[in-house]
């Protein structure tokens, strides 16, 4: 069993058959040209082998039509590869809005995963089948890469930013998870398993986990770090009110605007002076080193949970753009830079 020879990985996600179909096309073109070139070389080599050392040479002519034909036809074939590949890539890179989100933190040499419901896993990911799963990923140290061959998905996990990856698993089963970006000594041990489960099994698995969601953990962390001293829910604090923040458009002190997504919130926690909200002063200290990447994503989930329930359906984030951060609220003096 361990040494059986397989030629293709399993097709365990919705995108897997599409990638394989593209691979068949590429393979067909490759085999055609390989046979053509090998065949021609072999045939010519034998047909025109030297029979006498003084054979009279053949006249030579270059055919312009031939040169154009063998440039343009292959180019046309490659444009199909380009377009087809791009179409799949766009699907792979654009998660649907209703995807179930899981946070992934890579570090030398393990995967740490957190589910919204509060479950935390190491080197294992349990997911329901037939449901889009979106991974929101970052790294604590070097670049890693979250690769599930049977799903045909792969994405680098980069320190200092969030990258996403999504898929819909189609078959219950246990699938390899590999780190595909070289990350140091135990790179080849940074592996694990993705367990795709029927929805019922997944619900059972969830029920066996800890009580308290990721947002709850974030709320506890929010209290521990005393964030609420300044970020007051009624808008009277020295720092912006966070209610309804996620997904809204924030006006900055320098006149720019920014969409309050995960990356913005992460940056505001770890590097607060980078983007100062209009009407506020750069008072906040950095929390770099005080809060881990896992803590940051818990805080993000907590901040998301502060949105009115309507907005949490994620259908229409613009509805929540009741700007909680009008300039010069709270009677603060204008930012001095």
């Amino acid at each position: 069993m361990g040494t059986q020879l397989r030629l293709l990985p399993e097709q365990a996600s919705t995108i897997a058959p599409e990638v394989d179909h593209l691979a068949y096309y590429l393979l067909a073109v490759s085999i055609f040209f390989t046979v053509l070139i090998f065949g021609a070389v072999f045939y010519f080599a034998i047909r025109y082998r030297r029979r006498a050392d003084t054979e009279p040479p053949q006249p030579q002519h270059t055919g312009l039509a031939l040169e154009i034909a063998w440039s343009v036809i292959p180019f046309g074939l490659t444009m199909i590869m380009f377009g087809w590949g791009a179409e799949i890539f766009f699907k792979e890179r654009r998660p649907p809005d209703d995807a179930l989100q899981v946070y992934v933190v890579g570090k030398q040499w393990m995967w740490k995963l957190q589910h919204m419901e509060g479950q935390r896993e190491i080197n294992e990911l349990h997911i329901p089948i037939n449901r889009p799963i979106k991974l929101m990923m970052t790294s604590e140290d070097v670049i890693h890469d979250f690769f599930v061959p049977d799903f045909r998905v792969k994405q680098d996990v980069v320190p200092g930013r969030y990258t996403t990856e999504w898929f819909v698993a189609t078959k219950p089963g246990k699938y390899h998870l590999f780190c595909a970006q070289y990350c140091g000594t135990n790179h080849s041990a940074m592996t694990g398993w993705v367990y795709a489960m029927s929805p019922q099994d997944y619900q059972e698995w969830l029920a066996g986990g800890p009580t308290g969601s990721m947002a709850d953990a974030g709320a506890r962390l929010f209290d521990d770090l005393a964030c609420g001293n300044c970020h007051k829910p009624d808008g009277t604090g020295r720092c912006p009110n966070l209610t309804g923040l996620f997904g809204s458009t924030v006006m900055l002190a320098d006149g720019r605007t920014v969409k309050a997504d995960e990356a913005y919130i992460r940056e505001s926690i770890l590097n607060p002076p980078a983007k100062i909200v209009a009407g506020y002063q750069p008072l906040m200290p950095t929390f770099q080193g005080l809060v881990s990447e896992e803590g940051v994503v818990q805080l993000i989930e907590y901040i998301k949970s502060l949105n009115p329930p309507l907005g949490q359906a994620q259908g229409n984030p613009t509805q929540t753009t009741v700007p909680a951060r009008e300039p010069a609220a709270a009677g603060a003096p204008p930012a001095n830079r």
Binding site: G2, Y48, T62, F82, F89, F147, D156
Partner: protein
């Protein structure tokens, strides 16, 4: 007596004696020989690392070396093979020796700089070897940050300095070639009469001059961050790791063409000589080299499809990557068409050329897989990529290099190699190569990631095949090393033109005199004019 005549004649080999006469030589042919010895040693070292890697991968568990050692092995295999073997291999040996001769020049434009560039390679190599014997380096030849700047506990600085120094060798060689081609062509040697080998080297030189400074700067930035904690690439210091990937591949993708274009140049000479025909579509082949050099600078982002670079950047880089595929395809088609109605002989260099055409075709076609966005996401950083670039670098460049060394060996040494053993070596290399690397395409598509010391047991069968192939491949490489050395003393004495080839380098005795030609030739026709077959021997007094 022919033998006596050759031995008494003054050649570049017996013009002066002693170590000093070699180490201070300004003769491009002697410098080429120095390079040949140097890169052969680097090839042996890099090959030994590869052998250990294949041996370790025979079983899924760790049994031969530790994880740390394994990581150092593949890093040093990559560093040595890319920077100290493949990049200098053909240009600095065969190019150095034959580019001036092919255009009817007595030397390169700057003989002293030519010697300097060899010393720079030696200096860079010394740093790299120092890093290896002191404990090695484990970043991968790609030096991705922040691993290389903030996390690796190995000899990153020494290795990077070695590559930095060797880079200047590459730049100076390129500069020398460009000036030589512009300024030192013999009377009548117009641009479109030049052998395609020279065109290929001209295109390569442009990449070396324009691309290499970027890797030099990038490595300096790595040193700044690693030594002085200046935040450039590490996000913990305020840097951006994707920036490194862009800078690194801005050089390292064109570097692929530094490695393969000269090989394509060699194939032109061999295919023409052994089919006694001009290269079909000469102008198209010449311009395809230039097109590869230019477009090759615009495709580096296809190494970043899964890095987190923007979707639209990925789109542009995928599109442009297909543009660079076409000139390569044009070359393959034209070589094949050259065989049509030729007078084809199966001497060893031609066997290597056939091997090149086949393996480069497979390497190029699998490049179409990895240039396709949706496809690359799956095979990126797997063994599929390893197989792809080994088909281009080993199946392409090294096949061409060995073919070229066999082709010009009689000219360089004045001796013939034993033909039967040489044919056997060509066969062993071809079979061994395919057995080593073809299974890796399947491994990669199955999902086996690169740079894995241990792996799941279901991949073992294919790894065993690959290791078995590597054994055959090693024999194919060791065999020429033995019979080339043997031929220096016992080989049949070669005439000035044993293949009855056109080309000015065959128009002077073997081995050539120090100044290449007794009289500077006047060129009256294009390269590869086989309207009459050149005589085999030219008696020289």
């Amino acid at each position: 007596m022919e033998t006596a005549a050759v031995l008494e004649r003054e050649t570049y080999l017996n013009a002066s004696y002693g170590l000093k006469s070699w180490l201070l030589t300004k003769d491009h042919k002697r410098i080429a020989v120095l390079y040949f010895i140097t890169v052969s040693i680097f090839f042996a070292i890099g090959g030994a690392f590869a052998g250990l890697i294949r041996l370790e991968l025979l079983t899924p568990q760790a049994d031969l070396v530790s994880a740390e050692t394994y990581n150092k092995l593949f890093t040093m295999h990559g560093v040595i093979m890319v920077f100290f073997f493949l990049i200098p291999s053909i240009p600095a040996t065969l190019g150095n020796f034959f580019l001036p001769m092919m255009i009817g020049a007595r030397d390169l434009a700057f003989p002293r700089i030519n010697l300097l560039s060899w010393y720079l390679l030696i200096g860079g190599g010394a740093f790299a070897i120092f890093a290896m014997v002191s404990g090695g380096v484990d970043t991968g030849w790609t030096f991705y940050t922040p691993f290389s700047t903030s996390y690796s506990n190995s000899y990153v600085i020494a290795t990077a300095l070695g590559i930095f120094i060797a880079g200047f060798s590459s730049i100076l060689t390129g500069l020398n070639f460009v000036v030589t081609v512009h300024r030192m062509r013999a009377p009548g040697m117009t641009w479109f009469r030049m052998p395609l080998f020279v065109w290929a080297h001209y295109a390569t030189s442009l990449i070396q001059i324009l691309g290499t400074p970027v890797i030099a700067v990038t490595l300096l930035l790595v040193l700044c961050e690693r030594s002085f904690h200046i935040g450039i690439f590490d996000p913990a210091l305020g840097g951006d790791p994707i920036l490194f990937e862009h800078l690194f591949w801005f050089y390292s993708h064109p570097a692929v063409y530094i490695m393969v274009l000269p090989g394509m140049g060699v194939i032109n000479e061999i295919v023409s000589t052994y089919s006694r025909k001009p290269i079909y579509g000469y102008v198209f082949v010449a311009f395809s080299s230039m097109a590869i050099a230019v477009v090759g600078f615009l495709v580096w982002g296809h190494h970043l499809f899964v890095s987190g670079q923007s979707l639209y950047a990925g789109l542009v880089f995928s599109f442009l990557s297909y543009f660079v595929a076409i000139p390569s395809a044009v070359k393959v088609f034209n070589w094949t068409a050259t065989l049509y109605k030729g007078s084809i002989s199966f001497d060893t260099p031609m066997l290597y050329a056939f091997g090149f055409i086949g393996l480069f075709t497979i390497g190029g076609l699998t490049g179409l897989f990895v240039a396709s966005l949706g496809m690359d996401v799956h095979v990126h950083d797997t063994y599929f990529v390893i197989a792809h670039f080994h088909y281009v670098m080993v199946g392409g460049t090294i096949m061409a290099y060995l073919g070229g060394v066999h082709y010009w060996w009689p000219k360089m040494t004045g001796r013939m190699y034993p033909e039967d053993f040489a044919k056997l070596s060509a066969l062993l290399v071809f079979v061994g190569f395919n057995l080593t690397f073809f299974p890796q395409f399947i491994l990669g598509y199955l999902g086996m990631p690169r740079r894995y010391h241990v792996y799941p047991p279901e991949f073992q069968v294919l790894h065993v095949l690959s290791t078995a192939g590597a054994t055959v491949l090693a024999l194919g490489y060791i065999l020429p090393a033995i019979y080339f050395l043997w031929s220096l003393r016992y080989g049949k004495v070669a005439g000035s033109n044993p293949w009855r080839a056109t080309g000015l380098e065959w128009d002077t005795p073997s081995p050539p005199p120090t100044h290449n030609f007794d009289r500077i030739p006047v060129v009256t026709h294009g390269a590869y004019d086989y309207s009459h077959i050149p005589g085999e021997e030219i008696e020289v007094g």
